[in-house]
């Protein structure tokens, strides 16, 4: 599974990591709903650590697209909301 960390690049992450990634994703969603900046920052940091640790960084000329996109390291809830607002 290809996971992109914005501002950093794409990682090929083992599928076995998916449940853990989804769980951190849920924590982020929940933290956003509650406006809990601390919990959000912690979950994002954990997520990025996990992707970097378990994943293999793809070469820049590898053209595969990513299935999941992780916000920039250090993003705040406000910044992620602004990114997501581009959906509509």
């Amino acid at each position: 599974m290809i996971v992109r960390i914005l501002g950093e690049g794409r990682y090929d992450v083992p599928d076995a990591d998916l449940p853990a990634i989804e769980q951190l994703d849920d924590v982020m969603v929940d933290a956003m709903a509650r406006g809990d900046d601390g919990a959000f920052a912690a979950a994002l940091a954990d997520l990025i650590t996990q992707v970097r640790h378990d994943g293999t960084l793809l070469a820049p000329d590898d053209v595969r697209t990513s299935e999941l996109v992780v916000p920039h390291e250090g993003s705040t809830i406000e910044e992620v909301r602004a990114l997501l607002a581009e959906e509509s």
Binding site: G7, I21, A59, P60, T65, E67, E73, E86
Partner: protein, 342 residues
Amino acid sequence: MVDLLASAEPVASADPVASDGPALDGRLATWSNAEPGSRATQLARGTTPDRAEQGQKNEDTGKAQSMSVLKRLSGIIQAKANRALDKAENPADMLDLSYEKQVENLQKVRRALADVATARKRLELQATQLQAQADKLQTQARQALAQNREDLAREALARRATLGEQLQQLGAQHEQVETQQQQLETTAQRLQTQIEAFRTRKETLKATYQASKAQADIGAAVSGISESMTDAGMTLQRAEEKINQMQARAGAIDELLETGALPDMLGTGGGDDIQRELDRTAASGQVDAELAAMKAELAGSGGGVGALPPPAAADAGTSTPATGAPAEPDARGGQDQGDEVR
């Protein structure tokens, strides 16, 4: 029809193809006989498996899926990437457009890097200035205490505390700039590598794009590149926002440094009012000391006035007729003005 597509909303282009179907199929036909479901086809239709799958899942499983931050971001980035490519009318154009965009992006990233470096230097300079001012206030507080002006010492320390907060915030901001700089440097390096690899690949692909296999390759190559470019664009935008915030803040701090931050104690506008007050207190203290010395001298020996040290003689000369009288209102005056502000 391609123009219509290009001006369409991002979401519209990512939606299922039902209403746009015929036009898009027309465009596809001009491209190739790419198989439905191939990357090139998905690309041309402004959708990807991820996006399509996500839309499907959202409808099927509702809220939980649609709320995923990572999948929603993925959908957004793919939609943006596809929108960027909508302007291309054929695969060769798409390759060229893609290449131009990459080069353009790299230039933008390099400009942003220069901006970040400037912002960083400015922050460092300001931190030095704030620190110097804080040190000076500390010294002034000591001087004020030595002159028995606790009110002034308190004021100096209060201002020093304000500067301390500013310094702390500057430190946090400096960390942010470093992160921005790092991300932009990574982005620039990756774009550079990507551009070099893409330049050769694009010519090979253009030369062979008649073959349907190559069509799919072009779609794949371009959508992958486009995603990376979108990332670079978003990273760039974020960095620019941070730089703007930083510049606004730096402007505020410059202003603060200029005015000394602070309500002007003596209402004389600008300048270092604490220092002036200290100087005044010190001056009146000196007058007091000289007067005391003169009194002692007169009372003691009855000797000549010529024994006074020359500078004191000049200073004390005018006040000699009414011994002690002018000095006291002076000192009190300083005190009163200090109290007014408290």
